[in-house]
């Protein structure tokens, strides 16, 4: 992975498709390290029947599959439909909201699952108190999922707008705004 990405960070950072695919590749590795952790003989009895397992599915389905799907759409759709993507802030919203939303959800579920598992394995802890342990984490999860939803709405908007060719497109490959490229335009320059 390191060899693949070495010296190409600027390209990955600017290109939306590459950035999503890069997140997808890393999250695939994270998902399987996480799965191996959950399967350790001294971890499995604690984490069984806890929300730590949904955390794995969150990383695998939403961070890995979701990112790969989004990256593929950003890369393939312009070729298939002869269209371009707008240089829009919606791309930034899509990337950060979905990635941070999913990562926060998974982290909270993992933490909540650890507390839940330890409490379940302590016979002195009443089952009726388990929900109170989980509530603060699940509140953050709801917030993170709302954040993820905002990202998806941004993506849907930019996808529909691009398919309907509602605004002029900037590039065949979707790219993030580069602030260093924006320069003030003088009137004298316009008149030649």
């Amino acid at each position: 992975m390191q060899n693949l990405t070495e010296g190409r960070w600027e390209e990955i950072r600017r290109n939306v498709a590459l950035r999503f695919l890069s997140v997808g590749a890393w999250s695939y590795a994270v998902a399987y390290v996480f799965l191996a952790y959950l399967s350790l003989p001294w971890v499995r009895p604690v984490m069984a029947f806890t929300v730590a397992w949904p955390a794995f599915f969150e990383v695998f389905y939403f961070l890995f599959l979701g990112s790969v799907l989004a990256g593929s759409i950003y890369a393939l759709l312009p070729v298939a439909r002869e269209m371009g993507w707008p240089n829009s802030s919606a791309l930034t919203w899509h990337f950060w909201c979905t990635t941070l939303g999913t990562a926060t959800t998974a982290s909270c579920l993992l933490l909540a699952g650890s507390f839940q598992g330890l409490a379940l394995n302590d016979a002195g802890v009443p089952v009726s108190t388990l929900a109170s342990y989980l509530r603060p984490f699940l509140s953050v999860v709801i917030f993170a999922q709302s954040f993820w939803l905002v990202g998806q709405i941004a993506f849907t908007s930019v996808l529909i707008a691009s398919l309907l060719r509602l605004f002029p497109t900037a590039a065949p490959m979707a790219v993030f705004r580069n602030p260093t490229m924006i320069r003030p335009v003088s009137v004298g320059h316009l008149h030649g």
Binding site: P45, W53, V127, S128, L130
Partner: protein, 200 residues
């Protein structure tokens, strides 16, 4: 890498996965059969009634599995037996007549593998379904009022009406779904020994 070698590797990986998941799984549990309980002269695990079988569908449809598991672990590395959820760990043979075999994924409530033995009274289970706080103030289980018809109380109570009334003027009549769900919960009784899992 040559394409033929890559294809052979991919097919080999698929075959290995199939052997590990399907063939070994079948070899481990696919030929399990009920066993005779010499004390009662009945085979175990018992075959659930048709109503209980329907109740399993209601159990799944109501989302009970989101919080309740149906698998007791232990005694090593688990407090399930100490909590009194059952007298022995659950094994594959327990699920022979459970179709589909539901083990659950999360525990926010207690394990229900042995709820039929822990709470055999149908009336109590009905009351728990209607409002869990009627039996235990600290319960976090949601209410299921839609499983009951609320009817004006007449001079005589309906034969299957609950013994509690929401306001004193109405009686609660369990629906077919509620009766099936209670039959299913009552059928979850694992107080019998199996060769691979004796009672503690």
């Amino acid at each position: 890498m040559k394409p033929t070698r890559a294809l052979a590797l991919a097919l080999g990986a698929l075959l290995l996965t199939w052997v590990a998941q399907a063939a070994v799984g079948y070899w481990q549990v696919g030929r399990l059969e009920p066993v005779l309980n010499e004390e009662t002269n009945l085979t175990v695990p018992p075959v659930p009634s048709g109503l209980a079988h329907t109740g399993a569908r209601v159990f799944a449809a109501q989302g009970c599995l989101e919080c309740h598991s149906l698998s007791i672990r232990g005694p090593k590395d688990s407090a399930d037996l100490t909590r009194g959820w059952g007298q022995r760990r659950s094994v594959a043979r327990d699920y022979l007549f459970r179709d589909p075999a539901m083990l659950g994924t999360a525990r926010i409530g207690s394990d229900l593998s042995n709820i039929g033995a822990r709470m055999p009274e149908g009336e109590k289970l009905m009351q728990h379904l209607y409002d869990p706080r009627l039996l235990k103030k600290t319960s976090t289980c949601p209410t299921h009022p839609w499983l009951f018809a609320k009817m004006a109380a007449g001079p005589r109570a309906e034969p299957d009406a609950l013994k509690v009334s929401p306001d004193g003027w109405h009686q609660l009549i369990p629906s077919y779904q509620a009766k099936a769900l209670v039959a299913y919960l009552q059928s979850l009784n694992a107080n019998y020994a199996l060769p691979e899992a004796p009672l503690k």
